[in-house]
């Protein structure tokens, strides 16, 4: 290697300090641009923009119920996003949130339907949550093991694991041997039976009709724990070291494989927890596409946050509300909700494309 010149490097350091606000500016600006383009698209379809926005707002926050539903949505997105930043602290990109949600939701349903319902003292929902978390952890950890043992690129493996997980969920609700509910005269859809009431997550405000459940508290705890671990713990520093330079970390006595597997396992576990909460908190029965879109949303939330737990919270709320709004917009104002997908895609592309501004390296 060519020697790094001290003065030069100091300049680079200074430049980076100046650029710190860009970490905030870039996600904010790209979100604004993307939403602006979304509005233009809506206008271009000939729909009334005002009407669309009204429908959008109504869907997001028009009532206690809608607000609760939006936040519930944000809870799962936040958990997937936290999983993403946890892995990315070790320089790993977990894009398999969808599969981890699917596995978490599927196993949580199985646990809720088979045995957990009769457990006392809140264990009725805690056990399914734990089982779902574990399932997601295994699914994420698998990618970690492949990375550590075989050097398999985790982006590709987590994607493939998602494509494997989705048919598994489909299978579980297709097959009467697994989770499919028996055919009755009212319904024969391929879906699971509803989970017992005791396994549903308790509501925070049972009196005002808001569906907001204690998943909010779980997510809040997860945010604080992830923030502490990543920013202030020795584990966080080790993850970072391993991610930045595996060879030097190994020389310094760290078991790099262990940390790679750990990072992916925790990341997947958070996704699995998100999936379990979706089933136990709101959907109550498993369908083959219950996780649809959540994986990508969670991924975008993780990307937007730029590694900050607070950023994840903001991003998750943004997308939770956007999703709710877009669904209502499609129903009331006949504007396809796919416009939100367009915005999300644009956000990811703009942020990735502006990395050159934030990660500028001066090398000689």
């Amino acid at each position: 290697m060519v020697m790094k010149n001290p003065k030069l490097a100091r300049v680079a350091q200074g430049a980076r300090l100046e650029l710190v606000p860009l970490q905030v500016v870039v996600p904010v600006v790209s979100t604004i641009i993307a939403l602006g383009i979304g509005l233009v698209i809506i206008a271009a379809t000939g729909a009334s923009v005002v009407e669309a926005i009204e429908a959008f707002w109504d869907g997001m926050a028009g009532s206690d119920f809608n607000i609760g539903a939006s936040i519930n949505r944000a809870i799962s997105l936040a958990l997937v996003g936290l999983g993403f930043i946890f892995a990315s602290r070790a320089n790993l990109t977990n894009v398999g949130g969808e599969g981890q949600i699917a596995m978490g939701g599927m196993f949580a349903t199985a646990a809720a339907l088979h045995g957990a319902g009769g457990l006392p003292l809140g264990l009725a929902f805690i056990v399914p949550l734990a089982v779902g978390t574990l399932a997601g952890a295994v699914w994420g950890g698998l990618a970690g093991v492949l990375k550590a043992a075989r050097g398999t690129n985790e982006v590709i493996s987590t994607l493939l694991l998602s494509f494997i997980a989705l048919p598994l969920v489909y299978w579980s609700v297709e097959s009467f041997h697994l989770l499919r509910k028996p055919i009755s005269d009212v319904s024969s859809l391929p879906e699971s039976a509803e989970i017992p009431d005791s396994t549903k997550l308790p509501l925070l405000f049972p009196d005002n009709g808001s569906p907001l459940h204690i998943g909010l508290l779980i997510a809040a705890i997860a945010v604080v724990v992830v923030w502490l671990v990543l920013r202030h713990s020795s584990l966080g520093l080790r993850l970072r070291a391993v991610g930045l330079n595996a060879m030097a970390s190994r020389r310094a006595g760290m078991r790099t494989s262990f940390y790679v597997i750990l990072a992916m396992t925790v990341s997947g576990g958070l996704g699995g927890l998100g999936g379990a909460i979706m089933i136990l908190g709101q959907q109550f029965y498993l369908t083959s596409d219950f996780s649809s879109g959540y994986g990508f949303d969670g991924l975008v939330v993780g990307l937007l946050s730029r590694g900050s737990a607070v950023g994840v919270v903001i991003g998750a709320l943004l997308f939770g509300f956007l999703r709710s709004g877009s669904i209502n917009m499609e129903i009331s104002a006949q504007v396809p909700s796919a416009v939100v997908l367009i915005c999300q895609g644009l956000i990811v592309i703009i942020i990735a494309g502006s990395a050159i501004l934030t990660n500028r390296k001066v090398t000689r």
Binding site: N5, K7, V11, A248, G253
Partner: protein
């Protein structure tokens, strides 16, 4: 007549001026040396001429025409070719494929290249199998390919950036002879080096660079070597002593044991014992082939050898980053062969690895984090980091080892190479227990001041009773610092010299496998 004329050339990287107002003429048929310390701007100058970088100010002319290459492609087109410090050959392609790369013709014509290669073999004695894959070639052969690649298109100007660093002594002679031959055919050669020994053998004129400026340009006939050294280093020659001799490699002018450096060299019991060490790389090629070596307490054992003879692998195995295929390594009575890095550290081994950036430190992390990279748990309570305690400890360590940085919290990347290396030494020498230190190429890329500090630290460690193994490709460095020198050749030690009997010629012969002692 000047082939290349530079006037007022300036290049900045950010606020740092790498080259400042450089004006220089390269004549037709001359070998022109650029001399300077690491960081003096030699490589930057070459990169401007070859179009890798573009100047911020100043003009260049080539053969009288304006010359402002926007990239290597344009420089090549104008007849400027370059052999880079780090080879620029694609490793998993054949020689012929590498030579065809970048030549204009839509469909590949391997036959044309082979014919041209035969011509060059006849003209310069540069022979090589066109079908051989680059990754199977030795370092010397790869360099031959680089030179063939340069001469293929009948260039006007050949630029060689530190070409001898990786060569055996006889290969260096051959290369310098080719430089002369090229110049005799009316082409010009720019040879970059920080070694005076080479310059006096081949140069017509020498330009000395220091801190991005030209200090002087002198004709080599009758030139005073000592005054060149002074221009290059920028201070009085005598004060630098053996350090300087090692750094600039002045042939035959090094006192074997410099005065004021009468080290103890009274080795005690064995602290490191390597016996019959074998290492095969993933392709099954033996890189270490039955190497045996003992280092006692209180001695510095130097390992001399041309790069690629197993030194790197020896360093990796001692660091626990590669597992030996056979053989034993014992440190202070504990067997550590094939152990993990942590177990090796626990046995009392400090490692200053060859590749500072890849192995020794994590440049994105702070200085404090790097100083305690192996002891992250030491400053944590209930899993949370106690950053202020760590900062305090780091500040103390930086004071003790003269690591210059504005704060322990700045990134490692912001430090100069010398300060990075001092930080690595600080960390490794602060290990407890510590009985043995491996220093692999510890002064590579450092300036004279830092080299001196590194030598002093290594000697002090020896005086404290540590066993030190010094692996270096710089002969002068080994002769100045070691108490004993062993020579490695093709994965084996082929000879050993005790202090007082060091000689360049003897070591050089053993290094090239020509003699056994």
């Amino acid at each position: 007549m000047a082939v290349l004329e530079l006037s007022g050339l300036t290049k900045r990287f950010g606020a740092f001026t790498a080259l400042d107002d450089i004006s220089l003429q390269i004549e037709r048929g001359e070998v022109h040396c650029l001399l300077g310390e690491n960081g003096a701007g030699k490589s930057t100058l070459c990169n401007l001429v070859f179009g890798v970088h573009r100047p911020d100010a100043g003009t260049m002319t080539l053969g009288g025409e304006p010359f402002h290459p926007r990239g290597p492609a344009e420089a090549l087109q104008r007849g400027v070719v370059m052999v880079h410090q780090h080879f620029s050959l694609v490793p998993n392609m054949s020689v012929a494929e590498n030579l065809m790369l970048g030549r204009a013709s839509a469909v590949l014509k391997p036959q044309d290249i082979i014919v041209r290669m035969e011509q060059l073999a006849a003209e310069y004695g540069l022979e090589i199998d066109p079908e051989a894959r680059i990754e199977d070639l030795s370092v010397g052969e790869r360099q031959r390919v680089e030179i063939i690649k340069c001469l293929l298109g009948d260039p006007q100007l050949l630029v060689l950036d530190e070409p001898t660093a990786v060569l055996q002594p006889d290969e260096i002679d051959a290369l310098l002879a080719i430089c002369r031959q090229v110049a005799l055919r009316g082409k010009s050669v720019i040879l970059v080096t920080h070694k005076l020994g080479e310059i006096s053998r081949v140069a017509d004129r020498t330009t000395v660079l220091r801190q991005g400026r030209i200090i002087e340009t002198v004709a080599m006939e009758g030139a005073d070597i000592r005054s060149l050294v002074r221009s290059m280093v920028g201070r009085d020659v005598q004060s630098a002593g053996s350090v300087l001799a090692a750094a600039v490699d002045i042939e035959g002018k090094t006192p074997v044991k410099p005065s004021g450096d009468a080290g103890p060299a009274s080795p005690g019991e064995a602290v490191l014992e390597i016996s019959d060490l074998v290492y095969r790389d993933p392709h099954g090629v033996p890189r270490l082939d039955g190497l045996s070596l003992t280092v006692g307490t209180g001695e510095i054992v130097g390992i001399a050898g041309v790069e690629g003879n197993g030194q790197t692998e020896l360093g990796l195995i001692l660091a626990g980053l590669a597992a030996p295929s056979a053989g034993a390594i014992v440190v202070g009575g504990t067997s550590v062969g094939g152990c993990s890095p942590q177990e090796i550290t626990d046995a009392g081994v400090g490692i200053v690895p060859e590749d500072r950036h890849a192995v020794a430190c994590i440049k994105e992390l702070s200085v404090a984090e790097n100083l305690f990279l192996g002891a992250i748990g030491k400053f944590s309570r209930f899993g949370l980091l106690d950053k202020s305690a760590r900062r305090k400890a780091a500040e103390a360590m930086m004071r003790d080892f003269d690591v210059r940085a504005s704060s322990p919290d700045v990134s490692m990347a912001s430090l100069s190479g010398g300060n990075q290396q001092k930080a690595v030494l600080a960390r490794e020498l602060s290990l407890d227990p510590l009985v043995f230190l491996l220093a692999a190429q510890p002064t590579r890329g450092l300036d004279v001041g830092a080299i001196e500090a590194v030598y002093n630290r290594i000697r002090a460690a020896r005086d404290d009773g540590l066993g030190v193994l010094l692996i270096s490709s710089e002969l002068e460095e080994l002769m100045a610092v070691s108490d004993r020198i062993a020579v490695i050749y093709r994965g084996k030690l082929v000879g050993e010299l005790a202090a007082g009997s060091f000689s360049r010629e003897a070591i050089g012969a053993m290094m090239s496998g020509h003699a056994h002692v």
